[in-house]
Symmetry: C2
Subunit: 210 residues, 2 copies
DNA sequence: GTATATTTTAAACATTCGTTTTAATTTAGA
DNA sequence: TCTAAATTAAAACGAATGTTTAAAATATAC
């Protein structure tokens, strides 16, 4: 039967694509409703406000991604010894699974996360901490087991450096991929950047603190 | 005699502070002219447009920073062997010298750079490449000498990861410093973050490519 | 000192944005 | 089928933005 796509879903899908490509603030409700083929007012009718729409778009992914990530962490926690590389590799499978949410789910999600952090820093941090605090604590615990010599405050900073790298890469990803393709003749798919990213951040986290 | 501060300079100083604190797009011309105590229209009279004002603010720092950085690179190039850590340490002194431009020059500059990259990616990249291409080529040469085993394309990506880390750290710096101070009781001055950053990025660049 | 050029000022302009309103239309329940 | 609720539609609102205009004020040159 496959019931016809509802207005709410049309908005979510159009918003997600535009948000991932141009950011939240750069995308207007008129662009979204035009792309979705619905009336402008329906966003406020179904979601209440633009901010609530943004949150709904993020939630659709986070509710799939976070439990999957937690599962990976719990699996890794069984190991007798852990290193940073293994912790970051935990992100791969949950990220891949986002393809079930939407065709380009993995790419979209990272891009959304990047813009969310860059544009509305405080809100996203608070949302993640209140809704998925357990996963974040697990991440911290894993990182500490992987690097017990690093002080908590130094680990705090390095984890945010990691986040920064991820965020920036996704936000400026299309432009960088274009340059890389032009300069080196090597075109990198969006979902392959994480293969270049993980060794880098693992190396950074494991670096000696001078 | 210390001639009275001209309108143009008043605008530049007010704009710089507000840009560094809230970003370019988040800062309106009315905020700037109000803070500077000048008329709204004087921005367009003296600079032509907001975009030109942004460029003027950035240029004031880049024209001091880039030649100083080039000097450091040329000094390092004389060494028989080079490692990544030494390359990144080259940024310290030029950054410190920005205090001569303005009281909080070093902090402002990094913050501006962060916002510039996050908000108007293409423009800044193009501006830097056309005006300071020689310095950027020197940086690439230095990094290649420090890590000859890394392919050019991999080095390209890692350098942009580094930039991303820097950018993000500065943009979300105030919020992060606040959290760190609250959670760990350790308050870090803005200009001290770079001490935590350099080992991280050096470790990331030197990581083995799996 | 006067005329010219430069700068400052106040006001309005033209867009764009998220949101609200009000009426029309569709859907669902009795 | 009739009625009430839910949804869609068109239009306008109110606020904010960068920019332009045209007159007033100031500084500069002869």
């Amino acid at each position: 039967m496959a019931k016809r796509e509802t207005t709410k879903d049309k908005i979510l899908n159009a918003a997600e694509t535009l948000f991932a490509e141009h950011g939240f603030e750069q995308t207007s409700l008129r662009q979204i409703t035009s792309e979705a083929g619905v009336n402008l007012a329906s966003v406020n009718y179904h979601f209440g406000s633009k901010k609530a729409l943004i949150q709904a778009v993020m939630a659709r992914y986070l509710e799939v991604f976070m439990p999957a990530l937690q599962g990976q962490f719990e699996l890794l926690a069984l190991q007798p010894s852990i290193n940073s590389r293994q912790v970051f590799d935990c992100f791969r499978e949950p990220l891949r699974q986002l393809a079930s949410v939407r065709k380009h789910g993995p790419t979209y999600f990272l891009s959304l996360l990047g813009f969310a952090y860059a544009e509305i820093q405080g809100h996203l941090r608070r949302y993640i901490m209140t809704h998925f605090g357990e996963v974040m604590q697990l991440l911290q615990a894993m990182m500490h087991r992987a690097n017990p010599n690093l002080s908590p405050v130094d680990m705090f900073w390095r984890l945010h450096f990691v986040l920064g790298t991820l965020v920036f890469t996704q936000v400026s990803g299309p432009a960088l991929r274009e340059i890389a393709a032009a300069d080196f003749g090597e075109s990198v798919r969006a979902d392959q950047i994480i293969d270049k990213l993980i060794p880098f951040v693992a190396g950074g986290v494991d670096a000696a603190m001078v």
